[in-house]
Symmetry: C2
């Protein structure tokens, strides 16, 4: 556990929690290992803000103009450091249950990491090449909102059709035999945009409420058979895990930095005048098998990604598509150069890729039932994401 | 206009409308060219049903168990034929505004027509071949819910990146130069399913509230550049038009028929013991250019499609993915053999394909600004879908 150091007064994340006296899920923030129901704090602010504190999701809060949210953040930073507030209103983290922070409207998952695309191409198709559009704009696909769950929710191994492992031609049905995780980040959309009106890249931050970690669980065998030509569907749509704490762009601001230089100049709608348009967040994946000790299997950094959240907002809306509050814009797998920096197991199937070795001495080729996958992310100076965990459960027996 | 004959007492579709005395959108049904606000009818039925009549979308109504909906249908068929009911409660269709019938949760668009897949493959890649999975299960992709609009809403030509028409290599940015429609049908999900629990194909109908027509507007140039390997995104996500009247499975029951025989036996979860698992609905597309006369450019039939709505429910959920009320399961383009039966313009780019000629004498290669596309569908014996229309507007000038 731990992660108290991720949630200093410099963070002030938002989440949804419940406990005895708050049997209904309601908005909370967190300071170290103490949780505060926002409605308990009697904050001296505009009722337009406080009326969102009784909602069962963060959507109403997230939809507030950024000026309101900045005022709320500053007020919380003041109030939570006043004497007696923690003892009067704080609830130990262990006494609350965390829920999915937002009702997810649309969920688009992009591919922001060119390293991931190169490694995945080599692993899936035997050719180390980028998709034709990958340097022109962030490519993505429509992911599934209904199966996004909060950290800690078990994930069942999906059933589906795939090529028999021993025979490249025969298509069989059963539980996936190639279960993978994906280390991702997601931007949560705040104020919506209007259908038919592209959001200029310079205005993108106004539509981003904050950032979460995502584990985009993937069944590689199901995905491989289905994805030509329409992309992944059932290989992904059985479950995505979201971290419970939404870290705002305001908390991440001190960690702003430049993304990698562009290989060539993008079209004007993707030219960002803000140089420090991404954030330096250290990400990690660890896996525990059979209740054993966790093994770190990957470290990566948000700033390695070629495309930024601001790019994703511009790309999603350039054709007139609207953003809704609670939408998730995922980065796709975060990866870097070298086997220790690959954000999913698929990438280690590239030529010469070596699987990490777990605490019990077994190589981690694909996930087994009972494996626990934990993502974490830390920006620095008391600002982090905590963890995003899930245990892989056996498949349902139905049909098998 | 017309279409009164689609809405006999045998139909009883559901929609959402507003007018002067009902300034808020509310559930309605329709008999010929007369609309009835359900809340006005003072129906002698369970309050669990009537409480849904004040909602601004059909979601609450759609989520009712099928037994409730069958009771509502039978009651409406009785009440609407009682003397004086039309004069007391009927509102002329021309006096109401129709709205999107449901709040769309998830939207998955499948490819149910093998003819469409063959023609599109030939047009896009020069090879007439089915995707590897197409006969094993319905392939699909996550489509965009936020840009689904009701019939009559104009659609703006999207901006995006694509290969310059005269040069196969250069990527340019601007308004799409290859605008297309797609003739589709969509099942609207009623009662939700549980995450992690596949819906057996025999139970699929319990989760389908009804059926609509969909025009899945497509920008073929944008789609072509982006879709490898993750599938279509911006080439589709700018707008999908939905017909305003949801025709229930109960109304379609007399038109149930068998789908085409399977090329080979599907996996058990797609083996449907119900032989008459699809419906015989005649579909048509017509296009008017510059306010001119409408030209019929395509006829097709629902029953030509290889996969059924029941198959889509089974496929979407077999991996544990949950269905939410208001989800849309789209069929993809409905097509048959022969140029006159291709549900989109892309397919006519196959070898030897001939574009239809519009009333003014011009061939319909791609859509022009101002073109109006109208889909219609009729099952027979007073049961039809009416129309699903949209006019293509010029692109926004932003960035161009």
């Amino acid at each position: 556990m731990g992660y108290a150091e991720h949630f200093s007064i410099a963070n002030i994340p938002f989440g949804i929690a419940s406990r005895g006296s708050h049997s209904k899920p309601a908005p909370v923030t967190r300071l170290e290992d103490t949780v505060f129901f926002l409605a308990d704090l009697d904050l001296p602010i505009d009722p337009a803000i406080t009326q969102t504190f009784s909602h069962p999701t963060l959507n109403a809060l997230a939809a507030l103009p950024k000026s309101n949210l900045r005022h709320l953040r500053a007020t919380l930073q003041t109030v939570l450091t006043e004497p007696g507030v923690v003892s009067a209103h704080g609830v130990p983290l262990a006494q609350v249950q965390m829920h999915l922070p937002v009702s997810v409207g649309g969920f688009t998952d992009f591919s922001c990491s060119t390293e991931h695309l190169l490694n995945a191409s080599e692993a899936m198709a035997g050719v180390r090449s980028l998709p034709p559009a990958a340097l022109h704009f962030p490519v993505g696909y429509g992911a599934r909102a209904s199966s996004v769950v909060v950290s800690g929710t078990p994930i069942a191994r999906p059933l589906g059709q795939y090529y028999a492992p021993d025979d490249g031609e025969e298509v069989v049905f059963g539980p996936s035999q190639a279960m993978d995780y994906e280390l991702e980040m997601g931007a949560i959309v705040g104020p919506p945009s209007t259908l038919g009106e592209p959001v200029a890249i310079g205005d993108a931050d106004e539509h981003i409420f904050g950032v979460v970690l995502l584990n985009d669980w993937s069944a590689r065998d199901i995905q491989k058979l289905e994805m030509r030509p329409l992309g992944p569907l059932n290989g992904k749509s059985f479950g995505t895990t979201m971290s419970p704490w939404v870290v705002t762009l305001e908390a991440l601001a001190p960690f702003a930095c430049a993304p990698p230089p562009k290989e060539f100049e993008p079209k004007p709608y993707l030219q960002d005048k803000k140089a420090e348009s991404t954030y330096d967040v250290a990400l990690e994946v660890d896996v525990s098998r059979g209740g054993g000790r966790a093994t770190s299997v990957c470290t990566a950094r948000q700033k390695w990604m070629y495309w930024t959240f601001r790019d994703l907002v511009a790309q999603q809306t350039v054709n007139g598509c609207s953003l809704s509050t609670g939408d998730v814009l995922g980065t796709g797998t975060v990866s870097g150069v070298g086997d220790g920096h690959h954000g999913c197991l698929l990438e280690l199937k590239k030529a010469g890729g070596v699987a990490p070795v777990l605490a019990g001495g077994e190589p981690l080729v694909w996930l087994r039932d009972g494996d626990e996958v934990r993502l974490s992310g830390y920006a620095g100076a008391g600002v982090g994401f905590g963890e995003c965990t899930g245990v892989l459960k056996p498949s349902r027996a139905l049909y098998t």
